[in-house]
Amino acid sequence: MGTIGATLIRAGRRFLSSLPALFGVLVFTFLLMRVLPGDPAVFFASGPSAGKEEIEVVRKQLGLDRSLPEQLGIYLYDVGRGNLGRSMMTGQPVAKDLQQRLPASLELTLTALVIALIAAVPLGVLAALRPNSLIDHGVRLFCSLGVCVPTFVSGLLLIYVFYYLLGLAPDPTGRIDVFASVPPARTGFLMVDFLLAGDVEGWWAAARQLMLPAFTMALFVIAPLARITRASMLVSLGSDFVRTARSIGLSRWQIVVTYALRNAILPVITIAGIVFSTMLGANVLVEKVFSWPGVASYALDALLVSDYAPVQGFVLLMASIFVAVNLLVDVLYGIADPRATVA
């Protein structure tokens, strides 16, 4: 009970201390967007017949006719009330857009991370068990290939082989076949919603749709995860407790999995947290290639046309997720290793 209480207090304190950082991100992004060249009003009033008057209308709509401090004040007030503004690009409130698109990104990123972990941890362990052997070099080669081929290349390659040539994968557009019906949205995660609706066929269709983009992303992040697993496994295998375990004649499996890996997994958790946050923002190309309706491609489109509100909303969302993930990693750490609680 005491440890749970301490962990909660710790988490709460961590959260509070991250608020100034979030606020800083908010103001910084706001200013950055205004400093960038490109006037959204001119861009959006670009119909074949849009002249000066239309530009002024749009400028007023966006509140760009006011002074900068005034705009910032209004923006902060709006964000405080949960209003992230309206996207000119989609015509929807940004909060609604993000809410609809975040589950798509999270689902993809989480699946990719799970696939990457399932592949990376055994690879890392194998490499650490026989350092500088053929296996180790093979793992290194595989990791290098994964990380040096850009995701849009591997994505297009996977599409070409599995969709275009073999016809095994469904058409690589979006989260679900356009002709299929969508389950009632409860969580926004299609894999969960289909299960809740009891639609196994639909679940399978959505899962198939998810595979190619998830593998594309997973390939890209296997390298850091496998490398960190290998490094920390090497440390752990060389430590005293493993030597002791060996000397008292425990089985090899028990030594590797129960003692060495359990101790080596902590840095992997930390890296996985960071990798996850990075993937969420960095999967723009994957989302583009697979027409995945996620937040990253949304933010990129908005940035290209200087649509302020969505970009600001996206950065705030990413910052919040980063804070949340770090908090989670902290808590997990605290649970796994009570000594870490002293902070």
Binding site: F43, A45, E53, V57, T90, Y164, F179, L304
Partner: protein, 539 residues
């Protein structure tokens, strides 16, 4: 007990088995009745009048809303294209123009109904047109070009008759009513969602559709897809029957290679914005139907700002025009898919036609270019920047490299500048760019319209910052010219001034490549450079 369970199990598995066997058949059938259109862009509003609306939004609104009138079609080199000179009734059963050209009377179809079942009345038409000229919408500036500026001009005579009054006879008044903006809205429905701050229900209509058109919007997810179902009661098509496809899926697929894959595998039916290289490859394979129409209402330019030195010197502009590697650019940028506007020979040095655009007598001639530079007083050349927008990189990037290479030979050092779309439009609007490439489109491509909109005034579309009193005078006079011969003569004069002054260099009209599955029929190139889904059917 055991037998009961097993019987249940057997029947359950039978049901399951038949379900899996039947499902693909049912799906295949609905597939045949569905049109799946994939595009790079997105439908971002259901009301085309909202600033920022995309061409995809225009295309959907063409199908979900009716207008009073619509354009007919004609054949151009064997391809169907929209015809500005044929105006057909859409919601109007008939219309008549008074002999002095000041009054247009529309008789509405008595059987036309909105999607909620209420009849389309002259009241609705008036409210919709009033909105178009009064509210802060895109339609306002467009209808202006047809002398439609005030709500007083629209008068309800009886529930099925509406009269439009013009301050002077204007040949663009009627065509303007066929463009995308003057949609006819279910006014009762819209008004019930209007607020004191938003009397024209702009924000509601952006996300909700209240039309009488061929398709009823079912789902609308900006950035992903829009799905519409057929309006069975719609009879405005020819010959008076509903649209052919039962369902319409408009899906955003940002990756051009994926769009090409989808249509090649038959998963998508139609795509119009592929990369030129992909179109060429698909055409060579011969499995798909490729309809390539020159965009005869669009022009791609290399523009020079006539107010920024040294481009304020006509001889510098002539030098640039003589130093552009036209053929190479045409091949590199478009793979030759389009209509060139260079390399013509004007018999006696005067324009052969008063149309716009017409091929210009320009070709690559470095000697001539050097001579012009000498005459301009900058024989060693100068340094400048050449800008294009990221959105057009696929065609503009190879073009820019060729421009740089060729101009270097006469001493002009070109720094290539690739600008994000918003930054490019801002710089153009502020008249900051000296030398760049852009494209223009006119929905109502008449010579005077092009010259008035793209060569006069301190407005954004005057890319070259042209300020030429004579040109402006003729263009304004031509607008209301009723005599065809005189109009043609004025057009020739305008074309002569353009060539003489070389404000900017028209390069080509890019082709619109519509790539579709072999059994799709009825594609017509539209003024919106989009697809009119109502025309399409499966053979």
């Amino acid at each position: 007990m055991y037998s009961v369970i097993s019987r249940h199990l057997i029947s359950a598995s039978a049901v399951l088995l038949s379900a899996t066997l039947i499902a693909p058949a049912a799906r295949a059938q609905s597939r045949a009745e569905t049109l799946r259109y994939v595009t790079a862009a997105t439908v971002n509003t259901l009301d085309p009048n909202i600033p920022g609306s995309t061409r995809e939004a225009f295309a959907l609104s063409m199908s979900s809303y009716d207008r009073l009138v619509s354009f007919g079609r004609k054949q151009l080199n064997g391809k169907w294209v929209f015809d500005l000179d044929t105006i057909n009734g859409e919601l109007a059963e008939s219309f008549s123009v008074s002999s002095d050209g000041l009054k247009i009377t529309f008789k509405l179809r008595p059987d036309a109904k909105f999607h909620d079942g209420s009849p389309v009345t002259a009241e609705d038409v008036k409210w919709s047109l009033d909105r178009c000229v009064t509210a802060p919408v895109l339609g306002k500036a467009q209808l202006l070009t047809g002398s439609l500026t005030s709500a007083d001009q629209f008068k309800v005579i009886d529930p099925l008759t509406l009269e439009v009054t013009l301050p002077r006879p204007d040949k663009l008044a009627l065509p303007n009513l066929a463009t995308v903006y003057p949609i006819i809205i279910n006014s009762k429905l819209a008004k019930s969602h209007a607020t004191p701050e938003d009397p024209w229900a702009l924000s509601w209509l952006k996300e909700n559709e209240a039309g009488s058109g061929a398709y009823i919007v079912e789902t609308f997810k900006p950035g992903e897809q829009a799905i519409a179902k057929r309006n069975e009661a719609w009879n405005r098509g020819s010959p008076d029957k509903p649209a052919s496809f039962k369902r319409l899926i408009i899906q955003s697929v940002p990756e051009p290679a994926t769009r090409a894959n989808l249509v090649e595998r038959g998963d998508a039916d139609l795509v119009i914005d592929l990369q030129a290289s992909d179109v060429q490859a698909l055409e060579a394979k011969g499995k798909l139907k490729v309809i390539s129409t020159p965009q005869y209402n669009a022009v791609t330019f290399i523009s020079m700002n006539n107010k920024i030195p040294p481009f304020d010197n006509v001889n510098v502009r002539r030098a640039v025009a003589a130093a552009l590697p036209y053929d190479d650019m045409f091949k590199a940028a478009l793979f030759g898919r389009g209509t060139p506007l260079f390399g013509a020979s004007w018999a006696d040095g005067t324009p052969p036609s008063g149309g716009y655009p017409i091929p210009q007598p320009v070709k690559l001639d470095l000697e001539k270019a050097r001579a012009y530079l000498k005459e301009a007083g900058v024989p060693e050349g100068f340094a400048t920047t050449f800008s294009f927008n990221v959105g057009q990189a696929a065609t503009a990037e190879p073009m820019a490299a060729l421009v740089k290479e060729s101009l270097e030979k006469i001493g002009i050092k070109v720094d290539i500048q690739k600008l994000p779309d918003a930054q490019m439009s801002t710089s153009i609007n502020e008249k900051k760019l000296p030398f760049f490439t852009e494209g223009i489109v006119a929905w109502l491509p008449s010579t005077d319209y092009f010259y008035r909109n793209f060569y006069t005034g301190n407005q954004r579309w005057n890319y070259s910052s042209t300020d030429n009193a004579e040109l402006e005078k003729i263009a304004q006079a031509a607008r209301f010219e009723a005599d065809k011969a005189k109009y043609e003569a004025e057009g020739k004069e305008l074309n002569a001034i353009h060539f003489e002054q070389m404000f900017q260099v028209p390069l080509w009209q890019p082709a619109q490549d519509a790539v579709m599955v072999a059994n799709l029929d009825g594609y017509v190139y539209q003024f919106t450079r989009q697809v009119d889904y109502r025309n399409l059917s499966r053979k």
